[in-house]
Symmetry: C2
Subunit: 330 residues, 2 copies
């Protein structure tokens, strides 16, 4: 039942247009890196790990196939290096907050074989998701009711899901009774994507407005909050979809554990803290109200509010600077 947000086939990247979900399954065929960058910018594909993998395949499209003939190959290699650098700049600038994007592009640039590298990152994401999902699920107890925000399932990772993977694994182990899903304004990723994934998996779920978390927590209807991440700083501060920080503040007030689930590739040791994370502001027209608006896409949750960071390399706990230094090489 796992959703698949992208697929590399016959020299093209097929991207499931998440803007049309759940109403329609529409696939966009990308044959050039520019098309992939546009899909990332416009949120046809979204979610930090998924846009990293999409960008890696975008690099494959930019690099083309080298000629089989050895002399032609040498001549083409110089041209290719330039093409790859240009594509890297384009793809990297598509969205600023998720560090997985730049990370995946750097991986491809450092590799000799873009296609092999992209396929490996894709496979590794799936493995990382499954591993962190299993580790996160261990924190759950039978009957637990979880609250999640935005979408951090398979659609967001091109694997098994981070926060969504934890929920899926907890469900399979009989440790999850129900999921509360935040609508996630303005683009309703919770209402459109997370409920769709949970329904496909047969996991009981209820949608609420983003403003309802306070009521759910105050009434004792939530046992754990679990969210994904777009970038985790060296000190454990977390950038994620706007609305995550208020959830963390409310969870702390009500003594409910607040988990962040993310692969190690989402950790950026070059970013010292949350204040250094670039927070994307998107077009105010996304709010759809036709009035002057400000549209923050992400917010920053300080490490002090995070009960644990669930990664494939282990469940990190405070002090995060030390825990992060142990698992993240960058």
């Amino acid at each position: 039942v796992t959703a698949e947000p992208l697929r590399f086939e016959d020299g093209a990247l097929l991207i499931l247009d998440q803007r049309a979900l759940p109403g329609e399954e529409r696939w966009i065929r990308c044959e050039r890196a520019e098309q992939v960058a546009e899909c990332i910018r416009s949120l046809a594909v979204r979610g930090a790990p998924a846009i990293g993998i999409a960008a890696a395949y975008g690099m494959v499209l930019a690099g083309g196939e080298l000629p089989a003939d050895r002399e032609e190959r040498a001549a083409a290699a110089g041209q290719r290096a330039g093409d790859l650098e240009a594509a890297a700049d384009l793809l990297r600038s598509a969205r600023p907050t998720a560090v997985n994007l730049a990370w995946a592009i750097d991986q491809v640039l450092a590799s000799g074989d873009p296609l092999e590298c992209a396929r490996r990152l894709h496979r590794e994401q799936e493995a990382a998701d499954r591993r962190l999902a299993a580790l996160g699920a261990e924190r759950f107890e039978p009957g637990d009711r979880a609250l999640t925000h935005c979408n951090a399932g398979a659609l967001a990772t091109a694997g098994y899901g981070t926060a969504g993977g934890v929920l899926q694994a907890a469900w399979e182990q009989g440790r999850l009774a129900q999921v509360w899903v935040d609508e996630t304004r303005p683009l309703n990723q919770g209402a459109r994507l997370t409920t769709w994934e949970l329904e496909r998996a047969g996991i009981p779920n209820r949608l609420v407005t983003d403003s309802s978390a306070g009521t759910l927590l105050a009434r004792g209807l939530v046992d754990r909050v679990v969210v994904g991440a777009d970038r985790i700083a060296a000190n454990g501060d977390v950038a994620n979809k706007v609305g995550t920080y208020p959830l963390a503040v409310l969870a702390e007030r009500h003594g409910v554990p607040f988990y962040v689930a993310a692969p190690v590739s989402t950790i950026d040791r070059d970013t010292p803290d949350g204040a250094s994370i670039p927070i994307e502001e998107r077009d105010p027209s996304e709010l759809g109200a036709g009035v002057p608006a400000v549209n923050f896409a992400f917010d920053v949750t300080p490490a002090e509010l995070v009960s644990a960071i669930v990664t494939e390399a282990g469940v990190l706990e405070p002090p995060y600077d030390e825990a992060i230094a142990r698992v993240a090489s960058r």
Copy 2:
């Protein structure tokens, strides 16, 4: 520029259909109490004080005019009392949370003259709004940026506005630079009604998603939060549009004053605390996602998070039980 949500003319109550704003100014003509109850239930008219006044005029419609002839008058009086009781039950049950509804109906029942009583409540609301607005504005300082949630302007009170009135008065006194307006899901009263009112008043404003308050506060972009109320319990706990409680928690975390503006008629001393306030759950279809949902219409903010309650009888400060006992007779 003050918006007028209802008008009693030629023996009928005209209600501005707030569901159609800001796109269209459509008036609904009510000649029977049942029509008024339906307008309240369906949110054509909304806001605690405004639905109280609408219900008062609904009682006028139920009571009809007594015959001028003294004997006929006596005979009609018994019938009228029954009609008024039936209308009171119907109107009272239209929405459960706002106490102004039941309060206004009781006022009419206790009065000998429904029309005189309804007109007086309407006039008194305007006077109360202007008085509390002036008192609340005194708390503002030049350059202040305020955050508000839902709509508590003239549309919500049939007067001058409570939270909206405070903002208007602060603006007129040069103590307000800008208003951040929460979208207010699921029915977008902030996006549709509050921005419309602020634009008409020429007050600079920016719309944000409900989830953005954390970011605004963390970045130091908000100097005061001001909201209305649907019911204030004897201990100072406040029921207001869902999303108010998270705002209060965030405001406290960031040391920003959190004001509740409401007339004394919103205080219910018969309700000891927030846990005793009935919280309306509305049709999940209001979320518009076509999936199972829970739609809390209100939440409860504990008194400890409220910096001040701005009423026409004075600005109340903790301990609220004592302050409330001084100003509220009920």
